[in-house]
């Protein structure tokens, strides 16, 4: 039986000055179904979200909610009409309680006073609807985990009686377990008849949840249909707009001498007991669930965190002292998982960021420009010139700058923590090509990633970080995603 479509958009256009952010978007989502909205960064997903939420008015095109035309003038109105948003960056007030957050903006009132009993009842109802009655209404939101906060955000939308719920990259800061829980909640909402739009980079997620899809490219909906009728490579092709040769290129790599050797390395809290050998010309991946201590291991190797016990040998030499920044001189460089918070100084120029670790006592600005211009050219970083602020670049280009810093320093061992987080497929492909090229040139690369297909695509060997420490490095051909997942989660249940 054909379900009634609840939300419809037709020919929606939006222009900002000279840029056409949306250039004809058509989509429809039925009640009790999930629509995957897929597209690269900059394809217009966020503009579309803002139009749906009433933050922007479209220049052209029409939207319907049920049988009525849908023209929200502001976010509150959209919420009252039944369209809810779950943003990637959560929009909760951390100092307020769960209940206060759930009713925020639509507080039940008696005269000028908030009806606290009704507020509490609404919160309890909403949380038990989501299958998590354990989250108490009086708890402060800042005391909750990210995953729980997200549930509060969802509760806020459903307690306002929303019929359409839009998720924007909801899994970007969740671990695997929390993702599974979230998916259960989404499917439950779907069964209740809510129409869901799910925005994501991850095709696997889209497949797990959605029955229909729409691909957005350059502000236009370029293809749509049933999820079962299209393969992943076909989706990627319509996202990128051209044929993708190979997402994971692999040139000839010849492993050389050991550059990094770890022997039972433990930190004060994490990681516990990691042993590993990384050779020249080799890419080794570290899988594991979020919080297993993978980032901490990289930080310990790089000297940012203290090592409690164990030995670290770099280029065959045992490390005897630790100081921040000392590892650079030994030929080790690290790219942080937190690009904005740690990886890059966003309001400084490309040149400053690329050369920061390798400045001499006296510097010549023109020489810095020249040195970084070389990398801009080699990695085809899209910018005006190397005096641009890093802020003005896309995530993929920012990541290339973070990697350029290591190459400008001419390190041999590269520690890459989630190198493709938050960047689009085309940029991911370029990062993979870059990693392959570096391995081919004889660099040793250690990659931490939560995205298994990527690890299997680029690595020669994969080790799993579990509760009891780092497992052995297995050749990529000799292991499977299933086995890695089992190892990563098995140690948890102990």
């Amino acid at each position: 039986m054909e379900k009634r479509s609840l939300l419809r958009m037709q020919g929606v256009r939006k222009r900002f000055g000279a840029t056409l952010a949306l250039d004809g978007v058509d989509l429809r989502v039925a009640e009790g179904s999930v629509l995957a909205l897929i597209g690269e960064n900059g394809a217009g997903k966020s503009t579309l979200m803002k139009i749906l939420s009433g933050a922007y008015l479209p220049d052209e095109g029409k939207m319907w909610l049920g049988d009525e035309e849908y023209v929200p003038r502001n976010p509150l109105e959209a919420r009252q009409m039944g369209v809810g948003m779950i943003y990637q960056e959560l929009s909760l007030a951390p100092h307020l309680s769960v209940a206060e957050n759930i009713v925020l903006g639509l507080e039940p009132c008696i005269g000028p006073f908030v009806d606290r009993r009704r507020m509490k009842r609404q919160a309890v109802e909403a949380m038990s609807d989501l299958g998590r009655p354990s989250i108490q209404p009086h708890t402060l939101v800042q005391e909750l985990s990210i995953a729980e906060q997200q549930l509060v955000e969802i509760a806020r939308a459903i307690s306002a009686g929303c019929r359409v719920l839009i998720f924007d990259e909801p899994t970007s800061s969740l671990g695997r377990k929390d993702i599974e829980l979230l998916f259960k909640v989404i499917l439950k909402l779907k069964d209740k008849g809510i129409a869901i739009v799910y925005i994501s980079h991850f095709l696997e997620e889209a497949r797990a949840l959605a029955t229909e899809y729409v691909v957005l490219r350059d502000g236009r909906s370029v293809s749509a249909g049933r999820m079962d009728d299209i393969t992943n490579p076909e989706i990627i092709e319509s996202m990128v707009g051209r044929k993708v040769e190979s997402l994971y290129p692999r040139t000839n790599r010849t492993p050389g001498e050991a550059l990094l050797e770890l022997e039972n390395v433990s930190g004060w809290i994490k990681p516990c007991d990691a042993s590993l050998t990384l050779h020249r010309g080799e890419v080794v991946g570290i899988a594991g669930i979020v919080g297993a201590g993978r980032t901490e291991l990289l930080r310990a190797i790089f000297g940012l965190d203290a090592v409690k016990k164990g030995k670290i040998r770099i280029q065959g030499q045992l490390r005897t002292e630790r100081a921040e920044g000392l590892e650079w001189n030994r030929g080790v460089g690290m790219v942080s998982e937190d690009r904005k918070g740690e990886g890059l100084a966003l309001n400084l120029s490309l040149a400053d960021n690329i050369t920061l670790s390798s400045l001499k006592r006296f510097v010549s600005p023109s020489q810095l420009q020249e040195r970084s211009g070389k990398w801009v050219e080699q990695f085809s970083i899209k910018c005006n010139d190397s005096s641009d602020e890093v802020n003005s670049l896309s995530g993929g280009n920012q990541q290339k700058i973070a990697i350029s810093r290591l190459l400008e320093h001419d390190v041999d061992v590269l520690l890459l923590d989630e190198p493709t987080r938050g960047i689009d497929v085309a940029a991911k492909a370029e990062i993979y090509r870059l990693i392959d090229e570096l391995a081919h040139r004889g660099k040793a690369i250690l990659v931490v990633s939560s995205y298994l297909p990527e690890l299997f695509g680029i690595c020669d060997g994969i080790a799993v970080m579990g509760k009891s420490g780092l497992g052995p490095v297995r050749r990529t051909e000799e292991t499977s995603e299933k086995q890695v997942m089992q190892e990563a989660t098995a140690s948890l249940s102990l």
Partner: protein, 329 residues
């Protein structure tokens, strides 16, 4: 899609370049032009310009040091107290027959020592600069009063007193008094240090993103300690100039001056979030405030009008800064 965003980026860049580098200078031009038109005979004279430069020297010199601190993401609220303490130290040294050069050096060393103390508290005890310097704001003022015995300290007349006096007939060849030359020279020195040394680039990096700087091997603690020590050595130099102007050590002098100094940095394009600022902008910012004060006096406007105008200029400068940083979503 591919060409249009780049176009937009170029336009924004052009704007931001204009505002960052020409903005304060254009502002200075505007206020000079304004008062020049309103009071051509009294305002637009060589003597008046010399007076304005004299009046700017103390604030501008201290603001050079403050620029380093603000670029690194810090702040020093106690710089006025520091200047007062330095004038007292210099006067006491001179009174005890120390040579003027040594006395001046003692003043600068006092400023640097206070800077070292503040830097130490910030880096070792991990306190925020705002809180630490709120504390030293009172403590240094108290120390100055204690050393001075709660009164002004008179000192014998030496060449130090000539640093900031209008030039006599025999010294016209110098164009500006020595104190003004000192300020100009230091401006170029600090500007070059920020641009052409690793230390200078590290200051920007720490202010822009301390975590990134740590990741890149910048010794955060040592660099910050150096920033406050050097930055407040400039407060010491400003103290020497202030002493020269007062000719006595005054423990109550320069009260409220910290706000004028911070304002000069901000008008000149410094960001209180760190990572941005320029010494030339700072000096221009200090000049703008002097010109406004001087011009208002020439127009016989009361003090309260000057204060309101200065306040509005600070807010306008920040609004312009905001516009410069506004990004297209």
């Amino acid at each position: 899609m591919s060409s249009k965003p780049e176009l937009r980026m170029k336009q924004r860049k052009w704007w931001s370049y204009w505002l960052a580098n020409i903005g304060p200078l254009a502002g200075l031009g505007v206020v000079i032009l304004l008062f020049g038109l309103l009071r051509p005979r009294t305002f637009l004279t060589a003597d008046n310009f010399q007076v304005m430069l004299l009046q700017t020297a103390v604030v501008a010199t201290a603001a050079l040091g403050m620029t380093l601190i603000i670029i690194s993401g810090g702040i020093d609220l106690s710089i006025g107290s520091n200047i007062a303490l330095c004038t007292v130290v210099i006067a006491l040294l001179l009174k005890n027959n120390v040579s003027p050069l040594l006395a001046a050096t003692g003043g600068v060393a006092t400023g640097a020592a206070c800077g070292f103390l503040i830097g130490f508290l910030i880096t070792k005890l991990r306190l925020t600069p705002f809180i630490v310097t709120l504390g030293t704001w009172g403590a240094l003022r108290g120390a100055a009063k204690g050393f001075a015995g709660e009164t002004m300290v008179s000192a014998p007349s030496t060449w130090l007193n000539d640093l900031l006096q209008t030039l006599g007939p025999g010294k016209r060849f110098m164009i500006f008094p020595p104190g003004v030359w000192l300020m100009i020279g230091l401006t170029f020195l600090v500007g070059a240090m920020l641009r052409y040394t690793r230390f200078g680039r590290h200051i920007f990096a720490i202010g822009s993103n301390e975590q990134t700087a740590r990741l890149c091997g910048v010794p955060i603690g040592r660099t910050k300690l150096l920033i406050y020590t050097i930055g407040l050595a400039f407060a010491g130099i400003a103290g020497v100039l202030q002493f020269s102007y007062l000719t006595v050590g005054d423990p109550t002098t320069a009260a409220g001056l910290e706000l004028a100094i911070i304002a000069a940095v901000v008008i000149g394009g410094g960001s209180l979030n760190g990572g941005e600022g320029s010494v030339f902008g700072t000096v221009v910012g200090a000049l703008i405030m002097t010109v406004v004060a001087n011009g208002c006096t020439k127009m016989n406007l009361s003090n309260w009008v000057q204060e309101i105008v200065t306040g509005l200029i600070i807010i306008a400068a920040v609004v312009l800064d905001r516009l410069r940083h506004k990004r297209v979503a």
